[in-house]
């Protein structure tokens, strides 16, 4: 009998404080662990993307054949390319292109991968097996070859590029969400929710998916880094964004043949932009991961 009596010492010392704003309030208390220098990097890129028309000193697509391949100077900070277009202005404008493609692609991947991953982990059985196999197949094909095949089948356009970004990232979100959901399937609070009469979809949305929020946001940032690499890489090969539309990868491609003659600036500056953007997204992703892992 004695064992049933809960001693005072076993009770938690005090209840956690009630936070008026719920999860948002909780996030605010974690701000020190949440923000780091990489956020600043991303912030600058977003500002540049928004303010490109104001910041860019030249028209990004106007060629000026009198000023081809000028090295960096006070007139042209990053020099000019083989068409005489100002590289600095093009890099600013290209931030829009690359960030838009990456963000839309990854958002589609989340919209597809997370619900499918949640259902597949929650329901198990055949749907789970089929989806896992499908993701493995997509991931078994080397990324750029897979992309070439899709471009061959559907034609060369930036829409297909967004699709490719979404398609290679969706399996990542599917597997991630599934791995969060799977161990929760047998948890008591899930059983309680089911007993309360919630349908599987309600259980997944209200009680299971919130647990995936942290890992998915961390992966979101890392996938954006990946997406920018894919976008730049495929444009470098000539797929996706048509020339002369400003895009980092195709700018690197334009300068690639001039590198052996020592005209480095056409390729080096857009490549730096890719590198810094990828580092920024990667750093933010790792920070979020570190926060929820601890």
């Amino acid at each position: 009998m004695q064992a049933d009596i809960v001693s005072v010492a076993q009770l938690p010392p005090e209840l956690p404080p009630v936070r008026p704003l719920g999860q948002v309030g909780q996030l605010w208390s974690y701000r020190r662990q949440f923000f780091n220098g990489y956020w600043l990097v991303l912030g600058v890129f977003v500002l540049v993307a928004l303010l490109a028309p104001v910041l860019a000193p030249y028209d990004p697509v106007r060629s000026d054949l009198a000023h081809q391949l000028l090295p960096p100077s006070w007139q042209h900070w990053f020099g000019t390319d083989i068409y005489g277009m100002d590289i600095y202005s093009r890099i600013l404008w290209a931030t829009r292109t690359d960030f838009t493609i990456a963000l839309i692609g990854v958002l589609i991947a989340v919209a597809v991968g997370v619900p499918l991953g949640a259902l597949s982990g929650y329901l198990g059985g055949f749907a789970d097996d089929a989806l896992s196999r499908l993701s493995e197949m997509i991931q078994a094909i080397p990324l750029f070859l897979f992309a070439l095949m899709v471009f061959a089948a559907l034609g060369n356009s930036s829409r297909v590029l967004v699709g490719v970004v979404a398609l290679v990232n969706a399996p990542i979100f599917l597997k991630l969400t599934r791995s969060v959901v799977l161990p929760l399937r047998g948890a008591d609070f899930i059983a309680a929710a089911r007993c309360a009469g919630l349908s599987p979809i309600q259980v997944v949305i209200r009680h299971i998916l919130p647990n995936a929020l942290a890992p998915v946001s961390s992966q979101f940032s890392i996938s954006c880094a990946y997406a920018i690499q894919i976008t730049a890489g495929l444009s470098f090969l000539g797929f996706g964004v048509p020339i002369p539309y400003p895009e980092w990868g195709s700018m690197i491609q334009e300068g690639a043949s001039r590198i052996i003659y020592g005209e480095w600036w056409t390729s080096v500056f857009p490549g730096l932009a890719v590198l810094i953007a990828v580092l920024g997204f990667g750093g933010v992703g790792r920070q979020i991961h570190k926060m929820y892992a601890s």
């Binding site: 078994a140 080397p142 750029f144 061959a152 690499q229 470098f236």
Partner: protein
Amino acid sequence: MNQLRSLAAPAARWSLFVARRLGSAGIALLGVTILVFVVTHLLADPVYLLIGQRGTPAMINSMRHSLGYDQPLWVQYLRYLGALLHGDFGTSRFTFQPVAGEIAQRFPATFELSVSAMILGLLWTVPLGVISATRPGGLVDRISQAIVEFGVAIPSFWLGLLLVFFLYYKLKIAPAPIGQLDLQIDAPPHVTGLIVVDSILAGDTIALTSALSHLLLPALTLSLTSCPPILQLTRNTMIQVLRSDFIRGARALGLPLRTIYWRYALQNTLLPVTTMTAMTFGYLLGGTVLVETVFSWPGIGLYAVQSMQRADYDPILGVVLLASTIYILVYLAADLAALFIDPRVRDAS
């Protein structure tokens, strides 16, 4: 009797595991063919892929009938699979040669590059990972963490261009990015298709030095961009291993640190590292499209890109199938190797 059973039971379990693993690799291979089939026959019009934009409707219709593309999809798929099993990967629309032969001709270049990149990569990642793990948070560790962060983030094709600029244009150490050999040097007689090996076999030192110098930059680029995850894994696994009891035991016994780190701890670190290395290698063998393009390296990745630029689609599908087959097989081999090397994996399976 009991002893016998305890020996036999694990054997039965491994064979079951091996059989299941083989089965799932087979399913994955079949799945890739289905995926390629769906992309080419459902998303796109295979007749259009074959004759391109010049076809008239009448021409397209007659070709659709003569090639059997008006038959049910499953019949088409089985015929496609049958052709693949007979080694028929289609015909290049540009050279009119069978794709299988063209791929076979180009694969040695990719193989040579991947092997060199892996060797270079292992030479710097594993030792650096071990040294970082001996003092986490120390100077070496912080440097290697920075290398990993940059190595993963840097676009490989851009790094390749930077290396060309500094080592070819500025310092004149490396040759121009024009493929496997200098233009004025004859290739050694074809034996294995691997230029380095062939020139050693032929005793052709001029071709050998040229081949090695042309390998340097692309292999370096790939080892810097593909291998940092191996460094990271070596470091993290090694840190775990160094915390285990047998290492503390070895320390207590007064074994020299060098022996503990490079012998006992490294031995126990190598298993996951081997798996990771195998997977990286499998990925590289699939044709490193971007780096091959930058260095005009005549491997299967460049072949796929050039075919795409000529709107020649069968070669791309051939390379896709080859690359994913290699990846799946290497992954399988790594899993099975782990099973035979490490008794812990055996017991867990």
